[in-house]
Every structure is written in C-alpha cells, then in structure tokens.
C-alpha cells in the first residue's frame, strides 16, 4: 500500500490511525517549539539579567553568559546579604503556607458538611441578621454609639427573633444556596473590601502582621477551596462513612479519618493552586503591610527606585520567588490537572 503513494500522499496522509502524517507532525512540533520559546525567553532573560551588573545592562543587549558578558554575582550578593530580602521571603513563606493550610482546613470542613448534611437556613433569619448588621454599623458610625453596646443589643434582638419569628417562618435556603453564596464571594473584587479590612486591623492593632495577612488570604481563597473540594467529597462512596457512623464514630472523626484521606489527590491540587495564589498576591499585601510583614511581591515592586529600575536586583528577586514554586509544581503537576478537572466538570 505504501509503495504506490505519491510524494504528496506520503507527506500529508497518516500511515496508520495512531500516527500523524509527517507534514502534520512537523507543523505540530514547530508550533510547540515556538510556544516553548514564548515561555522560555522571558524566563531566560530574567535569569541571565540576575548575573549582570549595571554596565552590562546599560551597554547591552547581551545574550550569552561567558561569551557576550562575564556573569557576576554582585546582584545576588547584594540582595541576599546586604539588602534585607530574607525577612520578606520568610513572611511570604509563612503567610502562603499558613493561609493555604487554614483555608484548606476550614474550606474542606464546610464543603464536606454541605455535601453530606442537609441544611435549612431560615430566609427570615438571614434577612434579620443583615438588617441588624446594617443597623449596628449605622448606629456606630453615624450616631457614635459605643460598639460593644450596639453589638450586645443586636445579639439580644437576634436571639429573640430566633425563638419568635424564626419558629414560624417556613421559607428556607438549602445546601446549594449556601454553597452558591460561599462561592460567589470570590466574585467580589478585593479592592471593595480592603479599606474596611485595613481599618479593622488598625483598630485591633494587627496591621503589618503576618496574622492579618494569613486570615485575610484565608477568607479570599476560601470560596475556591469550597468550590473544588465539594466535588471531591461528592465523588466518594457513602458506605465507608455510614458503617463508621454505625460503629459510633463522630462526624468530625469520620471526616478526618475516612473522608479526607479518600480525596488526597484532589486536596493536593487545591493546595497547590491556593499556594500559588497566596504566594503571588499583591494588592492586599500592599494595603495591609508596611515594613515588618512585607511580602515578596511588594518587595519586588518596591525595586523601582528613583535611580530607575534596578533590573539586576529585581531579576534576583523574581528568580528566588519562582524557583521553589516551580519545583513543587513540577513534582505535583499531574495532581493539578486532575484536581482542577474534577472541579471544573461538576462545579
């Protein structure tokens, strides 16, 4: 069969169902090669710039170390030894890991409960809660009522309503409504919430601390955790959990010893995605930190000094920021695709 094929046929027709025609294969590899360049060139340029000094950049462009220019470790030495890079770096590590772990714990607890236990939240109580919240804020801000009094009155009114109005009202929100509410919080742009959060931490004297960033990032990333993990939990069979409950295990114990281990790979994917988001976050860190709790993205953007951007120093920072995440992600990369896929298919 292959004997009688013309040159054109040989180029453009596949030899078997599994294989591609040679021409198509060449085009495929060419396109993949081009995209590899698109990905690699910026990274390469940052990497070699971190080994240049001011002169190398000013007289450039130089492309190849040892041939075009002599690589120098000045910028590395300056950023790692003289400049305080370690502080922000540790802040970033603590904040990213801490907020990711917390978001994963709180989020998966909530997601599990929403998948397995039926909720009925009285619509009337939600409305009363919101009205009381607005009333408290208005009375404190406009009329200068001391906030402990306002909160105490509101809590008392709420409990009163719980036993009177709450008993009679039938209309209620179900699990999917609660889920939708939690997930929809992600739509809110952080810029809308950041000012009040700033004032809140200022009053609590927690501004410019790692704790403030950890708890804020937890709140911001919580919706994604719930969105992704609810599908993992929905996908595991009920039998194991049921038999454990008949044996007398509490719900919390079932969650930690049976449900969580079953969705391990999904949790890994979620962990990595949230970690990347927390590691790279810029806007909230810009508002909520100053000197003590400054994180890496803020430090990177601060390199744009009056003498003009210090490209070599900046490149060092970018390289040390990317390196650990790239290594972790390369190791766990297969989990990410699978984890996100489950979330996206059923979400």
């Amino acid at each position: 069969m292959t004997e009688n094929r013309s040159l054109m046929q040989r180029l453009f027709e596949p030899t078997s169902l599994e294989r591609q025609a040679p021409a198509a294969k060449a085009v495929t590899y060419a396109l993949l090669f081009i995209w590899s360049l698109v990905v690699l060139v910026p990274l390469y340029w940052v990497f070699i710039t971190s080994f240049k000094n001011e002169g190398d950049v000013a007289n450039g462009p130089f492309y190849l170390p040892f041939i075009d220019f002599q690589p120098k470790s000045d910028a590395w030495r300056f950023m790692l030894l003289e400049n305080n890079t370690l502080g922000p770096y540790l802040n970033s590590v603590v904040v990213a890991l801490g907020s990711t772990a917390l978001a994963l714990l709180i989020g998966s607890l909530a997601a599990y409960a929403l998948v397995r236990i039926r909720f009925r939240v009285k619509l009337a109580m939600v409305a009363i809660f919101l009205i009381l919240l607005v009333a408290v804020i208005v009375s404190v801000v406009t009329f200068g009522l001391p906030w402990p009094i306002a909160v105490a009155v509101a809590v008392a009114l709420f409990i009163l309503a719980l036993f009177t109005v709450g008993r009679r009202m039938k209309a209620a929100l179900g699990n999917s409504d609660v889920e939708f509410w939690i997930i929809s919080n992600r739509i809110m742009p952080p810029i809308v919430a950041v000012l009040p959060i700033y004032v809140m931490f200022q009053n609590l004297r927690l501004l410019d601390t790692q704790f403030a960033l950890i708890i804020t990032y937890t709140a911001v990333n919580l919706p994604i955790v719930v969105w992704l993990t609810r599908d993992f939990f929905a996908g595991i069979p009920l039998d194991l959990e049921e038999s454990a409950e008949i044996d007398g295990a509490s719900k919390l114990r079932v969650f930690f010893t049976i449900a969580l281990p079953l969705v391990r790979s999904g949790l890994v994917a979620t962990f990595l995605l949230i970690l990347i988001l927390a590691w790279n976050e810029y806007l909230l860190a810009l508002f909520l930190t100053n000197a003590d709790a400054q994180t890496m993205p803020v430090l990177v953007s601060a390199q744009n000094q009056t003498r003009g951007p210090q490209w070599w120093n900046m490149s060092v920072l970018i390289v040390v920021m990317i390196a650990p995440v790239v290594v972790i992600a390369a190791l766990l990369q297969k989990h990410i695709a699978r984890g996100l896929l489950v979330g996206a298919v059923k979400g």
Partner: protein
C-alpha cells in the same frame, strides 16, 4: 446517613455533651467558613457601601464622614469623574451605529424567543432583562468611546482586558492543548514547561516584560532597530501600552487554560474518536462532533473562573505602565486604588462598587446562560 446518626442518638436515654455536639456537627463544620466570610466579605462590603455614600475628609485628630447620598456615584456617571470612569464621549460613527444596532437586534431576538417559548418564568425574565440591560450599556459605552474616536475610561479598559484577554488565553490554551494531546514525544516535558508562567508573580511578569520590551537595551532591540523604529516606544501610545498589559496577562494565564483543557481532552471518549477515524472523519469533524461536546462544560467553567479573576487586574498595569499614557491602561481596580491614595475614600469605594456591579452581573449571567447550558450539553 442522617437516619443512622439519629438512631444512635435515640438509643441513649440522655445524650452526653459529645453526642449533643455531634448532632449539630454539621453546623459547627460550616461555622468557621461562615464567620470568616462574614468578617472579611460581608462586613467590609457593608462598610464600603456606607463609605461610597459619604464624603471622607481628614480633620484635626482624626477624620469625618459626611453622608452625601448617591453623590459619589453621580460624579462618576455624569459629573466631574465621568471622564475617568466612562471616558470622553463622541458622536457615533457609522461603525458605532452598526455595533449598537446589531447588539440591540440580537438582544431583542434572544429575549423574544425566550418570552414566546412558553418556558418563561418571572425570575428568568428579570435575570435576562438585567443581563440585556448591561450588555446594551456596554455596547453603547464602546460605541461612544473607542468606536467613535473618543477616549475610553477605566471601565472600557477593564472590559477590554477581560474580553480580549480571556478570549486570547482561551484560544491559545485550547490550541496548544490540542497540539499536545496528539501522539507526540515529550508530552510530559511540554506539559511541565508550559505550566511554569502561571507560577510567576504578576508583578514579576510586569517587570520582565518591561525589560523585554525595552527598545534600546532589551533582547529584541537589534531587530527593532533594524526596522528603524528605535525611537518609537510602546509605552507612549494607548493601544500598544494596552497590548503590552494583555500580552503579560496572556503569558501568565494561558497555562491555566492549557493544563485543564489538556486534561479534559485526554479524558474524552477514546473509542468514539477511533471509530470516527476509521469511518474517515477528518480532524475538524472529530473536534466539532466529539471533542468539543466532551470538553464544553470544562471550557465554560474555566472561562468563568478566569472572568472572575480578570476583572480584578491591577498588578500588571500598575507596574508596567502606571496606568498611562494618560488613563489608557488604567483598570478599575487601579482607578479605585489611585482614588484611595488621593484620600478620596468615598470615590474609591464607589468605583469599587461599580466594578462589583459589572463583574457580578457579567459572571452570574455567564454562569446562567453559558456554563449551565454547556453542562446540559454533556449529560
């Protein structure tokens, strides 16, 4: 399961503390999440709403807040800040008229078809009317600014980033995923390599692209100078500056689309693809009839995720161009940030709320009218 739990509880005459806790375990499990979201989403949202309705001023020993009603919003939509948010309007060009007419006709057709389909509900109609109103407003805004030679404000700029950026990321991600899904060598290598840009901090990307786009000292300087355009700078022209922001954004987020779409394509029914091949279907037919229906729900969902995030863009324009030249690359989040820096807290909150309205309506509409039908397509 609830039945089983209840029977355990019933068999003991007086439930102990641990069991009483367990009976309400569900509430305790959701409670932390609800508290965190109330403190860091709902509470700030209400405070911001209050701020957006008042004027903030520094006073000796603190600050004063004066309730001014909708003044901040009126200033943004029709007053002194209209130029900043919405842009400078010009009389419609023929092209703008065409855009508005086509949009109006499409909206009327879709709405009419829904109303006469016999499945119309009150809530469905209200939702569709809100979506239609926002679409029409966006079309009018584009028509009056970019399509008629006016100056786009931060809202149009944000929408350009969202629409053009997300489309580019989706199409590139899909294309590369389709290439990678073929029987090629080194698939895992490409998969890891193409994933890397997602992990670079957006601030870092902004600086990296400023280095790359340097017309004198950047790596492409010799090529640029060979064409004798070395004097020209992308940062001084509105569209080239906007393009740079979108290039950086696309470089970062295409990997996200790519990685999920690749997993979805690899998940498609193999036997159907092979059967189609044997029957002599070409690549395009296989994509249209088998691959696309299989990946459509995933595709719709990740586009939604990206839409949600794209509205919040600030790092790239802030570092890359500082919002300039003029207002050309300023996103709404950056607009709000700049207003905050100039102590205009009410204006800042009002811009934030405008962004919240637009992005909520767009994202919820997208969920209802694209993601849901796409999921039904699969089942």
């Amino acid at each position: 399961m609830t039945v089983a739990a209840a029977s355990v509880v019933d068999s003991t005459p007086r439930p102990g503390l641990a069991e009483r806790f367990d009976r309400h375990a569900g509430r305790f499990m959701v409670l932390p999440a609800v508290i965190v979201l109330l403190c860091f989403a709902i509470f700030p949202l209400i405070i911001s709403a209050y701020l957006s309705l008042s004027r903030f001023a520094l006073a000796p020993g603190g600050f004063t807040l004066k309730f001014v009603g909708l003044l901040n919003f009126r200033k943004l939509l029709t007053g002194s800040q209209q130029y900043h948010l919405l842009g400078k309007f010009m009389p419609f060009s023929p092209f703008a008229w065409a855009l508005v007419t086509v949009t109006a006709l499409v909206i009327l057709y879709v709405l009419g078809r829904y109303l006469f389909s016999g499945r119309a509900t009150v809530f469905g109609t209200i939702g569709r009317l809100i979506t239609a109103a926002l679409l029409m407003a966006i079309a009018l805004l584009f028509a009056a600014t970019t399509f008629s030679g006016g100056v786009p404000g931060t809202m149009v700029t944000t929408l350009i980033y969202v629409i053009a950026g997300v489309s580019a990321q989706f199409l590139l991600g899909l294309g590369i995923a389709l290439l990678c899904a073929q029987a090629i060598r080194g698939r895992n290598f490409f998969r890891v390599l193409f994933f890397v840009p997602l992990m670079v901090t957006p601030v870092g990307i902004a600086y990296t692209f400023r280095m790359l786009a340097d017309m004198q000292k950047g790596p492409f300087a010799p090529i640029v100078q060979a064409f004798h355009v070395g004097e020209w700078s992308w940062a001084t022209e509105a569209w080239s500056a906007r393009l740079m922001v979108m290039v950086g954004d696309t470089w970062q987020w295409t990997p996200f689309m790519f990685i999920v779409l690749l997993a979805a394509i690899e998940n498609q029914p193999r036997d159907q693809v092979e059967a189609a091949r044997i029957d002599g279907a070409n690549g395009l037919q296989i994509f249209r009839d088998i691959t696309w229906p299989a990946i459509a729900p995933v595709a719709a969902t990740i586009v939604l995720i990206r839409l949600i995030e794209a509205f919040k863009i600030i790092d790239l324009p802030n570092v890359l161009t500082g919002g300039g030249p003029g207002l050309a690359t300023e996103s709404m989040t950056l607009h709000s940030f700049i207003a905050w820096r100039t102590q205009d807290l009410g204006g800042s909150a009002a811009v934030g709320y405008m962004l919240l309205f637009v992005s909520t309506i767009v994202c919820v509409s997208f969920f209802n009218f694209v993601v849901r039908p796409a999921r039904r397509l699969e089942s």
